[in-house]
Amino acid sequence: MSILVTGARLPDGTSTDILVDNGVITELGTSLSAAGARVIDAAGLTALPGLVDLHTHLREPGFEQSETVLTGTRAAAIGGFTAVFAMANTSPVSDTAGVVEQVKSLGDSYGYATVRPIGAVTVGLAGERLSEIGAMAQSRAKVRVFSDDGKCVSDALLMRRALEYVKTFDGVIAQHSQEPRLTEGAQMNESALSGELGLAGWPAVAEEAIIARDVLLAQHVGARLHVCHVSTAGSVDVIRWAKARGIDVTAEVTPHHLLLTEQLVRGYDSRYKVNPPLRRDEDVLALREALADGTIDIVATDHAPHPVEAKECSWDEAAFGMVGLESALSVVQAAVVDTGLMSLADVARALSSAPAAIGRLEGYEAPFTVGSSANFLLYDPSVTRAFDTSLLHGKSINSPYLGRTLPGQVMATIHDGYATVLDGALVDADEVAAAGQVRHG
C-alpha cells in the first residue's frame, strides 16, 4: 500500500507532502495526490528521518523475561526508531555467525524495525580471545559494529588486536569504557554524595583513563574507535583532544546522561541505577555542549530492560539499567532542543544519519529525497505528557521518567515504506509482519 503524508514540516523548516511507494519516497511536493494511498495528515507535525539506535539491548536470545526482539522493536517503533543495533550480551553471547543471523532474522520477520546485531569482541565476553569477527561480518547479518558492552575490553593488548583486526572488515569497536579494577563493586558516581550515602563509588577516571588509552591505540594502529555512553566532562575533554589530532573516534551519549544527575540517588530508588552512573550537573552540561558542537556524534539509548524483581530490592542488589527507546526523543528534546542548544535538524543528524554512518547502515544518508528509502517519523514537539507505564511498549518498565512530564510525541513511524506507528499507536503485529514480508520477500 502506498502512503501519502500531507503537510509535514521537514527539519529544514520547509513544508511538503511525501509520497511513499514500494519502500521508497517516490515524490515530494505540495498538493500531491495518490489513488488508493493511505493518507496521513501531518499538519503541525515535524517529519524527521527514521531514528537509528546504535546501542540497544534486545535481550533475546536468553533473557526473554526482560525483552524480546518483538517487544524491543515495538518499543523502538513507538520511539520513532526504524533501525536498532542489538548489543551482544545475550545468552548465548552473539559471538558467532549463527547467533547474529538468528537475531537479524527475528527482526526481519517481525518487521517493526531493522535489526542490526552487534557482534561480541571476545568469545563469551570473557575478554580473553577474539571472537569470529570475520565470520560475523560476512554473515547475512553483515555485522560492522563489535562490542563487549556490559564489560570493558580492558586488556590493552587485546584491545589493540581488536582495533586492528576489525579494520579488515570495515568494522568498528564500540568500547564500554570502564577500568574494572577501579570499579569493583561500584554502585554510583564517586562523589561527596556517594560518601554520604555509603555507596561504593564509580570514579570518573575509570572511564576517562580507558578512553585516553583507546584513542591513542586507535591512532597508533590507524583504526576507527567508537566510545559508548560517554558520561563525564573529563571524557568529553579527552575526545575533543583526540578529534583535534585527527584520530578517527566517534562517541555517543545516552538521553538519561543529558538530563538526570546523581542527586536522584538520594532516595536509594534503584530506577536510577545505571552503568555508567548518573553524574553531576557539570557533567550533564558538558555532555549537552559536546553533543551540540559535534564532539559527541550521536545519541544512543542503551535501552536496558530488566524485570520488576531486579529493581524491587535494595540498591546494591538491583540490576544496572534503564529502558529508553520510548522516551529518547522526548528526553533529547527536553535536554537540548527546548534549552536552545540544538535544533530538530541537529537532532536528526545525531539520532539518524550519524549513527547509521558509524554502523555502516545504508539508506539513511539522504533522507527526504526522491528515491531514498522511506524511513521517517512524524513528530509533534508541542505536546506535553505525563510519562507513565502506558507509554512503555517493551516488556519492562524500569524507566527513570515515570512520574515526570516530557515533551513531544511520535505520531507516526514509517519503516521501509510501511507504517509501524499510526495516530500515536503501534500498528498491529500481523499487519506489520505482513508488510515486512513484502519487503524482504
Binding site: 561527596a192 554520604e196 536509594y268
Partner: protein, 326 residues
Amino acid sequence: MRHLLSTQDLSRDAAIALLDVAEDMSDVGEREVKKIPALRGKTVVNLFFEDSTRTRISFEAAAKRLSADVINFSAKGSSVSKGESLKDTAQTLAAIGADAVVIRHQSSGAPRVLADSGWIDAGIVNAGDGTHEHPTQALLDAFTIRRRLHGTASRGRGLDGVTVTIVGDILHSRVARSNAWLLTTLGARVHVVAPATLLPLGIDSWPVTVGYDLDEAVAAGPDVVMMLRIQSERMHAAFFPTAREYSRQWGFDDERLARLPAASLVMHPGPMNRGLEISAGAADSPQSTVLEQVSNGVSIRMAVLYLLLSGERLTSGSTHTAEVTK
C-alpha cells in the same frame, strides 16, 4: 516519629527529646521490676540480614522491657535470593502484624527502600545499613557522653562545645557517619583522623575537621576519643599495608592514653580488636565507656521504640520528626 532511618534528619530538639526519654528509660533499668507496660500488645521484629548478636540482643532487651512481643528473624542475604529477600520478607512480616521492624542489612539504603516501598506499614528502625548509618549507635554514644559530663543533670542538654575525635576507617563506617551528623547537631565539634585511603571523597563537605595524625589530635586534648573497629579485609584491598603499620599510626595504645587528659573519655562501638585499634589498657581504663555504651544502648533503644510505637499510628508523610507532647 514514624521511622528512625538516619541521624542526618534529626533536629537538635528531636535528638535532645530522645536522649531525655532515654534517661527515664534507664531509670527503669535500675528498678527491681525492669518492665513497664507501655508497648504491651505491640510486636517488634528484629530483621537481621547481617550477623550481630550484640545489637540484636540490645533491641530485644529494649522491646521486652517495654512489654512488647519480640520476634527474631535472621535472614542472611545470599546472592541466590537476590531481589526476593527484602520484599518477600517484608510482606510476610506485614501479614504477621509486625508493628515495628528493626532492620540491619548489608546494603546501604535498605531501610529507606523498605520504608518507602509500601510493602509493610510498620515503623522502621535502622539498626545499621551497609556503610551508611547506624543511628541508635550514635544516639547511645551521645547519651553516654552527656551522662558522663552532666550526670543526673543531663536532661534538656546538648553537647555544646564538646570536642570529639573519631579515629579509624571513616570510609566504611556507618557509626562515623551517624556520629558526625548527630554530634554536630548537638553542638559538639567533631574531628576525624585516618589515613587518606580511609577517608571518603568529599569529606570536606562534612561538618567535621580532618587530620591524618593521631598524636596531633591527642595533643589537642579532646573531650572524647572514639575509636572505630578496623577490618583486616581492608588490608587485603590495599587500604593500608600491614596491621602493624596501622596500629602504630592510628592505634590507641597505652602511651597515647597516658597523654590524654584524665577527664577525657575513650569510646568504642564494639566489638574491639584489642591490640589493633585499641590497647587492652585503654579499653579497660576508667576513662573507657565501652561497657556503659552497651547498657546505654538498651535505654536508647527503649526510647526509640517507645517514641515509634506508643502514640497513635502516624500515617506516611510524617517521616522523621519526633512529634511529642509533654
